[in-house]
């Protein structure tokens, strides 16, 4: 019902999977588990996936919500052009990165989660989605309307001081002098 944006969910999953992968790698290296070299790879792959997935894509329709401080990451990811734009490539990349994690106990969960994220990215790619950078919108500078060629230099002309001062004997006209007529307010 409606157009589901699979890529957004895949992005959240991949970011979480990258963190799980890196955490599992840290546990594996710190505990000096058997096959700790895979844990090292897990840390590197997890960090790489987090950096790649941190900048959110622009939504097809609606307001895009940026992550805090994602602009510099957006610029870096955008620099790779079609490699990062295409979700088929991303799905394949995540699938490749997750495989070594399956050989070590601490990184197994990271491997499975990244694998799921890869499948959701494949779904997004099949639905024709692609990554669009969220760039700050440059508004055109506000220009003064064309009809105003030059603002006036002098104030408007005023009557001489004798006419401006109200005479005290004229009580009806001694009220406040309105510049324009005032009607009863609603």
């Amino acid at each position: 019902m409606g157009k589901i944006e699979w890529a957004m969910w895949a992005n959240e999953q991949a970011l979480a999977a990258g963190l799980i992968y890196a955490t599992g790698g840290i546990v594996g290296v710190a505990g000096q588990f058997r096959g700790w070299q895979f844990a090292c790879f897990g840390i590197a792959a997890g960090v790489f996936v987090c950096l790649l997935e941190y900048p959110r894509s622009k939504r097809g329709k609606g307001t895009s919500v940026e992550r805090t401080g994602q602009y510099c990451f957006t610029v870096c990811v955008k620099a790779f052009g079609p490699l990062t734009r295409n979700y088929y490539i991303r799905a394949f990349l995540h699938a490749t990165l997750c495989v070594p994690g399956g050989f070590m106990l601490a990184t197994v969960l990271g491997c499975v989660c990244l694998g799921i994220a890869s499948l959701i990215y494949l779904t997004a790619a099949i639905h024709g989605e692609h990554w669009e950078p969220i760039l700050p919108r440059r508004e055109p500078p506000k220009r003064v309307g064309d009809s105003i060629k030059e603002p006036p230099q002098n104030p408007p002309p005023r009557p001489p001081p004798e006419l401006r001062r109200k005479k005290a004997d004229k009580l009806e006209a001694a009220a406040y002098d309105n510049p324009m007529s005032v009607t009863v307010s609603e």
Partner: protein, 529 residues
């Protein structure tokens, strides 16, 4: 400054108190379980084998038990609505705490995720220490992996941007919670963890009669540090180990049964109560208005319902605030909802072709119900967020005298001028009614058009009341609060917001920080997603 403290205490105090209490219980459970496994006699041998990994995994498991049981309670919506409605039993403080039920649910959920990571990491270390990697293929191992995967799917689909962009993903993955709980019950039933059941007869460090004196001396020496005061005893029997009774079943069963019972009650109520769609009207700015008739249904102004339409989607349920509630005939109530979402558009379009069956779950309480319980209220609506206040305005139109409310400030910020036409008649009608009843100061309306491009006016003669209150640009909240503070000194003003995050944050800050000549501002926020 003392007045700002008063507002801060009213707005933040109870919430922070509950959070501190919850954190204290979590810390206590973690510490108590940690110490039990660290220094308890019945876990002496287990601790010797596994070390700190055992203590951390068990302590995090007890925190997980506590939070898995609490996380369901804020989602028992009918129960919360009942508590909110029984105003004689619960005070305003408790009702305002009920507004934070979703925040509490999220806090428990995040805690479950964090402590799951701790629990899994500790068990990984345990498995490596004991070199029993095959444990991953036993019941606790397999169920543990499945639990993490389900939690991963639920957590990643629960972020704010997913809920806003693709609510269906959030809805379907979050309903995996029942799978989560079933697997959780199996996870703890494995009986892998055992404690020594005969510590009195065979305390750790006791000496065996048939072992060499060197072995006894070594065992006693090892234990000497912990049991230095105790005399060396003779082991009367061999150590017996038995598995625990799964504590998780005790923690989780009551809230789960309560939630399931409540879900069953809501399912039966929504399936048996017939709902008829009377009309579907297309309003400006892609908004659909659905009018329905339903019997045996008594919603209060400000409440919301959850709609299910099998012809559109069998499993999806979407929440909508009621904009009008009025008795139609006997026990039949007529109600309206106004919505921009695709789901309501699809119901509307299917209603043109046939009479689709619609199930209504609810009504459920929301913070907007409290508008009537203050003497002075400020209602701020952003765009379609006006819907809860529309019902409030309608209720005031029907009979404003029965409520405690004496003055209402209504601020409506929209991007499009056409949006104001949704409730232009209601606003003008209410104002006419109040003028006739000699209460011209009851209703203060301010309309703001945030889109400043082009000349925009409400030209119709019958809406002159609105056109004179229409301002172009965004509201200046500080000035508004100062004006309300000066006009309502020493009063307690209820501030209600239903709109974008920016507006609600600004209002929340102003409610807490700005000293307003003795006026206290109590902040209430409405959220749907």
């Amino acid at each position: 400054m003392s007045v700002a403290l008063k507002s801060w205490r009213a707005n933040e105090g109870p919430k922070h108190l509950i959070m501190m209490f919850w954190i204290a219980v979590n810390v206590f459970l973690f510490w108590r379980t940690f110490m039990m496994y660290f220094s308890g006699a019945q876990y002496y041998y287990l601790h010797k084998m596994l070390g700190l990994g055992l203590c951390i995994s068990r302590a995090s498991a007890s925190v997980l038990n506590f939070n898995c049981s609490l996380v369901l309670l804020p989602m028992c919506r009918s129960l919360l609505t009942f508590l909110r409605g029984s105003q004689r039993v619960t005070g305003r403080c408790v009702r305002r705490l009920l507004d934070k039920s979703k925040t509490f649910h999220v806090a428990c959920g995040v805690t479950i995720c964090v402590f799951s990571v701790v629990h899994v990491s500790a068990h990984l270390v345990n498995m490596v220490k004991l070199m029993i990697f095959l444990a991953l293929f036993l019941v606790p191992g397999v169920t543990g992996v499945l639990l993490v995967l389900v939690l991963f799917l639920m957590f990643t689909a629960s972020s704010y941007c997913i809920r806003v962009s693709s609510y269906e993903i959030f809805w379907y993955t979050h309903n995996l919670f029942i799978v989560f709980y079933i697997i959780l019950m199996l996870h703890v039933a494995g009986g892998a963890l055992k404690y020594q059941s005969n510590v009195e007869a065979r305390p750790p460090g006791c000496t065996h009669n048939n072992l060499s004196s060197w072995t006894n001396h070594k065992a006693a020496g090892e234990k000497g540090a912990e049991f230095s005061g105790a005399p060396q005893t003779v082991c009367q029997e061999e150590a017996h180990f038995q598995p625990h009774f799964p504590q998780t079943w005790l923690w989780v069963s009551a809230p789960l049964c309560l939630y399931c019972a409540e879900w069953l009650y809501r399912f039966i109520r929504s399936s048996t109560a017939p709902v008829t769609i009377v009309s579907v009207v297309s309003d400006p700015c892609d908004v659909v208005e659905l009018r329905m008739l339903m019997s045996g249904f008594k919603p209060r102004p400000g409440q919301y319902i959850v709609l299910n339409c099998p012809s559109v989607s069998s499993f999806e349920n979407h929440p909508f605030t009621l904009t009008t509630v009025s008795p139609f005939y006997g026990s039949i109530m007529e109600m309206d909802i106004l919505s921009t979402c695709i789901f309501s558009n699809l119901i509307g379009s299917s209603a043109f072709l046939s009479r689709p069956r619609v199930h209504v779950d609810g009504p459920f309480g929301s913070p907007s119900e409290e508008v009537f319980n203050y003497e002075v209220s400020l209602c701020v609506a952003g765009g379609i967020g006006v819907t809860p206040f529309a019902c409030v305005l309608q209720a005031l139109f029907d009979d404003w005298r029965q409520y405690k409310l004496r003055r209402l400030y209504f601020v409506w910020v929209c991007r499009d001028l056409q949006s104001f036409y949704w409730f232009a008649d209601l606003l003008c009608g209410l104002r006419e009614r109040l003028w006739r009843d000699n209460r011209p100061d009851y209703l203060n309306v301010q309309l703001y058009l945030s889109n400043t491009r082009g000349l925009q006016v409400i030209g119709e003669e019958r809406y002159r009341f609105l056109s004179s209150r229409l301002r172009i640009g965004r509201p200046k909240w500080k000035l508004l609060f100062q004006e309300i503070g000066r006009a309502n000194q020493l009063k307690r003003v209820g501030v209600f917001c239903c709109g974008p995050k920016g507006i609600s944050k600004a209002l929340h800050t102003l409610c807490n920080s700005n000293p307003h000549t003795g006026t206290a501002f109590e902040y209430n926020k409405e959220t749907f997603i």
